[in-house]
Symmetry: C2
Subunit: 310 residues, 2 copies
């Protein structure tokens, strides 16, 4: 079976739906002559008369009624298809998943800057420690840490963070620190990530950095999430080696202080991954550009000042 020409079917469908050649032509944006020729061609191809010409009117034959009933569904579906795509593109917001700490202490705070720039662009931020499957639409963008980014097709370095010892001013009390090593005499809060992430810098490494001895068995408090460790420090429970990007608000608010600004870098970088299709969502490209922009600035702020001890 040979399929007749698509334009011929389309012309006939329009005639059936509109009732006259002239109104069908108007709807298709062509002349009645074009419609007439297309329908004639369809009749020749199929070997049946679809329209009965009665003076200056046309009327469907029973073959025409039969065929039109079916192809109308087909063309309606094609039109619907394009609408479905348009709706999906315009209505679906952007979905970003990130490590929970990154959501709690970084991107979740920065997103208000995005809102100011693009008030009508919805972005949904989800804390999720496992890598999402982008192609399945689980996420448009993903912020992750280290080599885990390689499971995604498209990714780029976001920023590299540094850690610095920080504590609540209440913890210090009336104590006066004479040297960086004095920090090690206070309760120390430890961070231990899941095994598939490179181990974050530990107090033992910091002690070695400042030329001090350090007990191999610290206070016994361990946190899986950096953000939880930071919150404990804010509550006066000890010193934390906090990521610079995650404690900026606390430093500004005075709920954390840095007695000695001696920083260590994280062993790996944060990465932004994305689904190609997401770049074609409304504001998709803009969001990508914005995240890269704030990350670049963060890299500058997180790194120690050029004259700092490294």
């Amino acid at each position: 079976m040979t399929m007749p020409p698509l334009h011929a079917l389309q012309a006939f469908e329009a005639v059936g739906r509109c009732g006259t050649m002239t109104t069908a032509a108007k709807e298709l944006g062509v002349t009645p002559s074009a419609v007439s020729q297309q329908v004639r061609k369809l009749e020749e191809c199929l070997g049946v008369t679809l329209l009965e010409r009665i003076g200056r009117r046309v009327e469907m034959t029973s073959w025409g009624v039969l065929l039109h009933k079916e192809i109308a569904v087909g063309f309606a579906q094609l039109t619907h298809s394009v609408e479905v795509l348009e709706r999906a593109r315009s209505q679906s917001g952007i979905v970003l998943t990130a490590l929970s700490s990154v959501v709690n202490k970084w991107i979740g705070r920065k997103i208000f800057e995005w809102k100011v720039l693009h008030p009508d662009a919805n972005v949904r931020i989800i804390g999720k420690d496992e890598e999402p499957r982008m192609a399945d639409g689980q996420s448009d963008f993903r912020i992750t840490y280290g080599k885990r980014a390689e499971v995604h097709t498209h990714f780029t370095v976001l920023y590299t963070d540094w850690v610095v010892p920080a504590c609540s001013p209440r913890l210090l009390g009336m104590h006066k620190l004479n040297a960086p090593a004095d920090i090690l005499t206070f309760p120390l809060l430890n961070i231990e990530w899941e095994s598939h992430y490179s181990r974050p810098p530990q107090w033992s490494e910091w002690a070695q950095l400042v030329g001090a001895a350090c007990n191999d068995k610290p206070s016994g408090l361990f946190f899986a999430l950096s953000s939880n460790a930071i919150d404990a420090a804010v509550n006066g429970h000890g010193f934390v080696l906090g990521q610079v990007s995650m404690i900026e608000d606390e430093l500004n608010a005075g709920t954390l202080v840095v007695p000695y600004d001696i920083r260590m870098p994280l062993p790996e970088s944060y990465y932004l991954a994305w689904d190609r299709a997401a770049l074609e969502k409304p504001y998709g490209k803009e969001f990508h550009t914005w995240v890269m922009s704030i990350a670049k600035k963060q890299s500058v702020r997180s790194a120690p000042k050029s004259n700092s001890v490294v």
Copy 2:
């Protein structure tokens, strides 16, 4: 919303279904270059990437998967539409309705000639005294009598029949008829059609034709169907003014005889009506031609011979 070009949608649909540009091109009967350009044009029109080019492979993006799922249904429906039409044309036989007597005593007998000519062409013959609605597919062809044909869009004169007095040879027995008027002394079977048909010739008219007196109140046997009256005559119940076309088999078989071949014409003709679409069914035109052909011959046989008394 502007619909993208149909050929572009079709090319993309084929790629999605076939998996590669090359196999899609083969199926569409074009070059891969054509498919590549069509898909590119579709992407430009819609403003999204539908296929991700990975080296020499292509892979659907999530937009592409979404759109393809929908348009595949549309194109499948269009293909199905043409199949539906083809099936309807090839599988549906021809339907002829006719007056019951015509079915019983004429066309129902002649149809075997059609079968010999076209063994694989199904024709269904239905006795029906009311006019069918052709456009609704109630009938492809219709044999009717007189002005009733005018309710149809397409119709033509079929044949004009004549009546002749006929009886079973058993009725005559040892009686010897000396003159045509002697017939009137036998039991006479009457035919009275429904009021919307012109009254068929009556015995009183025949009597007048042969110059004989005739009682205004004959035997009291009246038949609504000509075929029933003929059957009664075959059974020896009396003389019938039988239509020539309907008693030919009986004359040939000797179950009826015509002592005096003095004929009277029916006041109106038989007509063939038809639905335009029926001519496009397989064998539709052939059937029309055949019916007209046997009718023409019937007209010749039904009319009295050129030297007969009229």
